[in-house]
Amino acid sequence: MNTLALTNNTMTLPTSKDPSAANSKDQAVDIQAIVEELKHATQPVGVPFLDDPKFYTRDVDVFYNQAKQAIFGVDLDIGKNEVIAMIGPSGCGKSTFLRCLNRMNDTIDGCKVTGQLLLDGEDIYAKEQDPVLLRARVGMVFQKPNPFPKSIYDNVAYGPRIHGLTANRSELDDIVEDSLKKAGLFNEVKDRLQAPGTGLSGGQQQRLCIARAIAVSPEVILMDEPTSALDPIATATIEELIDELRQSFTICIVTHSMQQAARISQRTAYFHLGYLVEVNKTNTVFTNPQHRLTENYITGRFG
């Protein structure tokens, strides 16, 4: 993929003799001014809004323990059946924003979310909205593979069982097999479905978690750095899987690897210090970033 080649080149650090690069380097020193600027910006640079989005979010603020604000006025639309990558330095609020989308932040004490978050036009923070039902529609895969200490079969069957999706055992068997196949794990584990899920390798565990998430047929899958604990081969398997899953699900993925974002996503959102700075087609973000913060980040100029 040409974008990958490009990011690889630009990753080789700021010895570029390009005058515009030197120019942006000088400006990068004055973060305070840029933050001021971000505060007053009404919307992110690029193309944050879509027609008929899956998720529609406006002015999202998140506070931890009242005093600490984690994200500031994020406006973003997420389209149907697209893979959107969220990138940015550590602590920039991308994971926090991701966890807003299925109300996982509810489980954190003192976390408060304000603003408008709509899923298919439905307010997900409305009083009558049940987070349990929401999370069945918006599944999640975590950074560290976290299979339950149960058998492989029971791990995948967990969701269908708690939501009462099946009438009998054979239907459940079908769902388990189907989900494992979609996650590309079935052939490896079909002879040992009753073996504990924690006995699998890291990459297999993460695919098991993906199978577990898709077993309840969600509409959206949120992935919080799903490959950061895996080796490159397991990462490649999961990236292929994400590309296939795009046919049936909307996928939001937080990643620290810009190559990964470039490889698998259609759109990319760049977060910085709790602000959503720039959203655009992945190609555009990596070849022609509009905002100088984005440029600094993707060229590796931020330490």
Partner: protein, 462 residues
């Protein structure tokens, strides 16, 4: 010079030898204090000198203090006039008791027999000599140790490794104290029990259903012939423990789940210490609470609905004991539930599971080993508890499953068998050891079973 002064001086010597050792290490390295010149940090050389100073001398001190009294008294006995030596051992022992008590007091009683006075003088003299030899020996060894360690200090001498070996040895010693104590207890109980089983057949003890340990001590005394069927005692123990656990396990587990999963931080900060206060109440207090408040209450309540309730009942004891062990169950379970990784909860919530589904299907299975551990601890507290039962459940060994009657337990019987004036070779007294042994074996079996269950059903995370 007595032992405590010797010890004090040794410690002072050790403190000095640390500094000398350290200084010497710095000196032999010729001021080359760099990493490559001296193998270990200078402090290790100091510590090594301390070890050499203390270890041999302390061992010598211990051995000498342990054996010298025996040697001295043997020496004194052999110097006694032959007419005393030729009498039987009881007489010699009585004679020596008097001699030793005079020697300990350091004053010769003028009213004592001349032979005793003579022996006491000899005793005192020997003791004096022994103390001098002890002091000289100990300090000589300490000095030799310091000298030896000093000689060994060289830049490439591996002091750290040796000091660490000594510390490991010390830790092994500490760990073995617990094991040796357990072994000692088991053996002493075992041998006394064997003596009991010579008097009473083991089958009668284990399968007899009548417990009445009163035996006549003298031939002319009127007393029971003694019957040692332990079944009623174990049945009573079982009954009371089951009642107690039936209270403590559900209440404790539920409160643990509430505290760890539902309670806000503020509530938890108040409730958990409050629950743990329960564990700090002395069992005697629980005992009179059971006997004076709960038992009469149960009795009135039972009678008002037409039941006959004994004034001391298994129910009263069991209820109060149950309350007593709630904190064990709740506090330990709370800890293990909190130890289940947050990732498990996130995974479950992320699937759209509710809190109760998460608790039942993910958290409790993962925490099972710890919860069984808490249960076992609670059970062994219930089985071993004595005070509450003595006060609230009575002493009569009824074989019954009715919790409204008075029962007694193994531990209570052990207490009653061993309190007061006893003859230590009658079956009545020895029965206590047999009961103790059986109780020990039963709890051991319980532990092994529980371990098996845990191994089979646990769901291991990571």
């Amino acid at each position: 010079m007595n032992t405590s002064i010797i010890l004090l001086l040794l410690l002072v010597l050790a403190a000095f030898s640390y500094f000398f050792g350290r200084k010497r290490a710095l000196a032999v390295s010729n001021g080359n204090r760099g990493v490559n010149k001296l193998h270990s940090l200078p402090g290790y050389y100091g510590h090594l000198v301390v070890v050499w100073c203390l270890l041999p001398s302390l061992i010598a001190l211990m051995l000498w203090s342990f054996f010298s009294p025996t040697f001295i008294s043997q020496n004194v006995i052999s110097s006694l006039p032959t007419e005393i030596q030729s009498t039987d051992t009881t007489n010699v022992n009585l004679f020596m008791n008097r001699v030793e008590s005079m020697a300990k007091a350091g004053v010769i009683d003028e009213t004592a027999e001349p032979a005793q006075q003579e022996a006491a003088r000899r005793y005192i003299e020997l003791q004096h000599n022994s103390n001098i030899i002890k002091a000289v020996l100990v300090f000589a060894l300490a000095g030799l140790g310091i000298f030896w360690a000093f000689r060994k200090i060289a830049p490439n001498f591996r002091a750290r490794n040796q000091v660490e070996k000594v510390i490991v040895g010390l830790m092994i010693l500490c760990a073995s104290i617990a094991i040796v104590t357990t072994l000692g207890i088991v053996l002493s109980v075992l041998f006394e029990s064997l003596r009991f089983f010579q008097a009473v057949p083991i089958t009668e003890f284990l399968f007899g259903t009548h417990w009445s340990p009163q035996t006549a001590i003298r031939n002319d005394q009127v007393g029971g012939s003694g019957s040692f069927g332990a079944i009623p005692l174990f049945a009573g123990t079982l009954l009371i423990s089951v009642i107690a656990l039936a209270i403590a396990v559900p209440v404790g587990l539920m409160s643990a789940i509430y505290l760890s999963e539902y309670a806000s931080k503020r509530v938890r900060a108040w409730v958990k210490p409050a629950l743990e206060v329960l564990a700090g109440i002395p069992t005697v207090v629980y005992g009179f609470f059971a006997a004076l408040t709960v038992a009469p209450f149960i009795r009135t309540l039972g009678e008002s609905i037409g039941l006959t309730v004994a004034s001391e009942s298994a129910l009263a004891a069991g209820l109060v004991m149950g309350v007593m062990i709630i904190p064990f169950m709740s506090s330990l379970s709370d800890d293990v539930i909190n130890a289940v990784p947050q990732a498990m909860r996130d995974g479950s919530y992320g699937m759209g599971a509710t809190r109760s589904e998460t608790i039942k299907q993910v958290i409790l299975p993962a925490a099972l080993p710890g919860i069984v551990g808490a249960f076992l601890l609670a059970a062994s507290r219930a089985i071993g508890e004595t005070m509450i039962v003595v006060m609230a459940a009575g002493l009569s060994a009824n074989l019954t499953a009715n919790p409204l009657e008075a029962v007694t337990t193994v531990t209570v019987q052990i207490v009653t068998l061993l309190t007061g004036d006893q003859e230590f070779d009658s079956p009545k007294t020895l029965a206590a050891f047999a009961l103790g042994l059986t109780l020990f074996v039963l709890t051991l079996i319980l532990n092994i079973l529980a371990l098996r269950i845990v191994r089979k059903y646990r769901e291991q995370y990571e």
